[in-house]
Symmetry: C2
Subunit: 247 residues, 2 copies
Amino acid sequence: MRKPTTYPIVIEQQDTDCTYRASITTIIGKVLNVAGLDANSKGFGVDILNKKSYSWVLSRFSIEMDYLPKAFDRIEITTWINDCNRLMSTRNFIVYNSEGAKIGEAVSQWCMIDLNSRKAVDLSILNILQPTYGEYVLGSLDASIERPHKIPNAQSQTTHNHRAVYTDIDFNKHVNSLRYIDLMLDILPLEALTTPKPLRVDLQYIRESYYGDTLHIKCEKSDNNTTLFEITRDDNIQAAKCKIEWR
Amino acid sequence: MRKPTTYPIVIEQQDTDCTYRASITTIIGKVLNVAGLDANSKGFGVDILNKKSYSWVLSRFSIEMDYLPKAFDRIEITTWINDCNRLMSTRNFIVYNSEGAKIGEAVSQWCMIDLNSRKAVDLSILNILQPTYGEYVLGSLDASIERPHKIPNAQSQTTHNHRAVYTDIDFNKHVNSLRYIDLMLDILPLEALTTPKPLRVDLQYIRESYYGDTLHIKCEKSDNNTTLFEITRDDNIQAAKCKIEWR
């Protein structure tokens, strides 16, 4: 059986917001990038998948952080696959600060799509693409945080609109998972984002949106510490939902 | 006398656009990040400057690229200070591909501001902050591309508006230099950005803009291969100008 793998990460100056700390989007980006590096290095990353016209697509994500690291901090992210069925692969992460103390944890759930049909692919294909895939699934090593929550719809009168532009679209030819988070954060008051507090973020990616789509962003403060977000496309289909709890 | 310093850079998947190549903004970001790393490692970076309430601010920039590197490409960026007077420091860059062939060059011109007054500071202060600063100015080593051009104003009837939000603002507490480029690229047709061609970009940063400012973005195709951009603030003051030539 294999073991989790650890990646050293530096918080660069350009990763930080106006408080000189990583933004929520940046830390999630670092975690997702580690997922990509780990999958690529083990033979089941998008570099291999794309040659077969498949790609990983993030479906759900949860992260809890005691604090957001600041510019020039050297952190480490440990990752492993915790579970894989025909529909979904679950990958866990632990974030450590430069002293080796745990400062956060995350759980990501992925499906695979066929890039031509944009439909989900049965993940048992992984055993053909990479015969040692099963060895990397460490089923006994659960995360200590809850898996991504199902997120209620946001109730709000106010809708912010955004047309999906060039810089929103990634190599999967859809609006990038991280851009949805930016679009949601950008409608919060600045104080909410610049007051350091432990937090938990849940994300749910439902349907893809594409270049030129108009996205409608709703935001609801569901209690003192919790904010719900919802992004729908012009055809009223939900693209993404998010819940942020400051603790 | 010192020598130029070379930094290895990997084009990560998340650095690429929908064509799987670095975007114009990404490659400029990589170059500017190398400027930051180099200045920090030599004792005159923002890490030191910020403690004295100073910061580097990019004033003008030019870059020529034969092509934009693709995901997972390992490039190298060599950098050195070419010139420094009381108002402006000029830093040059050469971009190499993984085979060691030159694929691009860039010139950046920086001033220093006092973070309290937001006014320019006399750069001779560098010799006090870092007594060996002068040794790093390699005056005989000019770039082989032209220094940043003065950019004509864009003439256009159409203006795109953007309110500066949380994710636009950086540690300098103003709209980030790279975000202006994204805002300008995002109004171009997708084909212009996804057809690989050698290119030259000139940038001119004139005045800062801040959280909440409404930015007005104009774009003019000045000839078949050249596009001019201009971003003005609500008070009609120019914030940034850009010229992109596809060759």
